[in-house]
């Protein structure tokens, strides 16, 4: 299974066991007119402890399908997801203890926190619900909720507010705090900063960097934005039509892309002196 793994961070080569190992993960969906759409075809990668992997690609490339399979929201047709050496069963966990143990392995942060947060719960209640579900109680739970709020930069006013009274950035901070409440090994973020204003996006990126340093949680960062991925990940996986077309250290994938598809994606990113027509000509050989 290591044959699929990109070198995600300097530790991977040193032999430290990866926290997340994904092997030959596949998913197809039936198409209306017969035939099947391959959303993910034998996807494999590893993420070292505390590492950060980016999955990039265009709409329909299958990157969200992979993220949802990691968390267990989509059941893969084939392949395995292993966290800390334990394979995650493809079927939904049976029994409370198994479900909770599963939740402590991987947590997810979604693009739109307004949809992913319960509108009836205040920020503090949202965190307490997650904490109590996982066995914390009383003063210990309250104290931990406060610490989580502080960790993501939310004050007591925000902790007492319901999601509708929070800004987009504050909601995303709360969603990150809720995901961190169970102390997961891996945090999967699916376009988690895509809907935010650029100044807020930068704040969340900075927060994620701090969270990684403080907790050692590994990140799987799904994004269409190559520039964001450059800032938050060490390894990158480029997906197209359900397959991995390129993977490796983020720096070399972005600085010296091997495949025409990655080159086309990079050429399409606006920069000083950029011309869309030239970007399209550069992309012409192998893009749809």
């Amino acid at each position: 299974m290591t044959a699929h793994g990109p070198v995600a961070g300097p530790e991977a080569a040193g032999g430290a066991p990866p926290v997340l190992t994904v092997d030959a993960l596949s998913k197809t969906y039936p198409l209306p007119g017969g035939g099947r759409l391959t959303a993910a075809d034998a996807i494999g990668f590893t993420v070292p402890r505390g590492g950060s992997l980016g999955i990039v690609g265009e709409s329909g490339s299958g990157k969200t399908t992979v993220a949802r399979m990691l968390v267990g929201l989509v059941r893969p047709d084939a392949g395995t997801v292993t966290v800390d050496g334990r394979a995650r069963p493809a079927r939904p966990a049976r029994g409370r203890a198994a479900r909770l143990a599963r939740a402590r392995e991987i947590q997810m942060v979604f693009q739109d926190p307004y949809v992913s947060l319960d509108p009836r719960l205040t920020g503090r209640q949202c965190l307490l619900t997650a904490l109590r579900l996982h066995g914390a109680s009383g003063a210990a739970a309250e104290e931990k909720a406060e610490r989580l709020l502080g960790q993501v930069g939310l004050g007591s006013r925000e902790g007492a507010a319901r999601p509708h009274a929070l800004s987009g950035g504050q909601r995303q901070r709360l969603a990150i705090a809720r995901a961190l409440a169970v102390e997961p090994r891996v945090l999967v973020l699916d376009e988690a900063v895509a809907a935010l204003d650029v100044s807020i996006q930068a704040q969340i990126l900075q927060l994620l960097g701090e969270v990684r340093r403080e907790t050692g949680v590994a990140l799987v960062f799904v994004s269409h934005d190559l520039a964001v991925v450059r800032h938050i990940t060490e390894a990158t996986l480029v997906m197209r039509r359900g397959t991995v077309v390129e993977q490796g250290p983020t720096r070399s994938v972005l600085a010296a892309p091997v495949t025409p598809y990655t080159r086309a994606l990079l050429a399409a990113v606006p920069r000083p002196g950029w011309d869309p027509a030239a970007a399209l000509r550069a992309a012409a050989p192998d893009t749809p």
């Binding site: 650029v198 190559l226 800032h231 600085a255």
Partner: protein, 435 residues
Amino acid sequence: MTDTHGHRPAAGAQPAAGARMPSARAEQPGAEPAPAGSAAAEPEAAARGASGGAEPLLDIVGLGLELPGAARPLLADVSLRVRPGEVVGLVGESGSGKSTTAKAALALFPDGARPTGEVRVAGTDVLALRGEALRAHRARTVAMVHQDPRAALNPVRRVGDFLTERLALAGFAGNRAAVRGRAVELLAEVGLPDPARRLRQRPHELSGGMLQRVVIAGALAVGPRLLLADEATSALDVTTQAEILDLLRTVRREHGTGLLFITHDLQLAAAYCDRVLVMYAGRLVEHRPAEALFTDPRHPYTRGLLECSPTLDEAAAGVRPIPGRPPSLADAFPGCPFTARCPGAEPECERWQPRPVPLPGDGMAACRRLAEYEPDGAESGGADAGTDARGAAAGAEGVERAGADPSPGPVAVSAPARRDAAPGPVSGTTEGGAG
């Protein structure tokens, strides 16, 4: 999926399509459009980047917009112009007033809002338009392309129906075959393959990029002089975005259309537009030729936006967040609205009424400490003193400030404060792994 449009309801997808338009002004049927504006003396020409030439398609002068119940004006002293064949970028965060400014070209204002100032489109005073003249203006002179093409198209009608309706609106005369032929031409013009077949398709059968092409074809159907693109590419993949941007450039070249390009992405605006205006809290804070924004941003907000935008540039430092959050309508500002988030703010800034300070060359920036941020700050305002009293005032203020503060220059003044405000760039991911 990369769609980010869930939070942005695209009300009135094509404003001309017959939706009820909220307007502060009672409609008076039969009113004539005002005569074309005479080219009066324009003291603000420098501030708006006037460089002579053709009559502007869009000329907004000192536009203000008050809304009852809001703590601050939605717009204050907004001036901009778009000339034929020009791409002008309007950049800012949510709530900065960029869409509100663009919709002023259609005389579309929030319910109960009171506009002041002047909005002219191709010489016509838009704020004075009423009734049929206003409807004709909205239908034909200006077209708007929104972020979410799916919200702009009726999901149960065919693409052909949409274009036919737009052509009828434009007064296209001819039988069904002629209308159909024109619709096919339009779709071919925006680069849709197999246009005749597309006419029979419904929106769900087309991808987001294809639908945005359909919407642009609909906009072109009425032969508009001015195109407003409101985050028109923000929901698209980068490669599709490049295609649509290329298309808009072609449209501009072949029709001489002026394009007001609204985006939250400063990198994109500076790479794509001829001139860029940056808005904050309903005010223009900087107005520059696009390339100057990259190399020499002058307003602290513009610099902050550039520093917090992730780039692919290897040499670029990590992203540095702007502390705080974008202001809402509930926030009132006695002085410069950026003071609370500004790394170089001083107590006086809280009382300083923002005003455009012309920059040498072209453009303006509305910052009290502008004169300190350049090497020869004492002269910059004074050079325009003969023609622009405000420039002189700013220059004098600059001298005074520079005297009070012995550390002029952008690096010395702003960088340490910035580091205090936002400790540590995010890019240091290589050492971020806990191992």
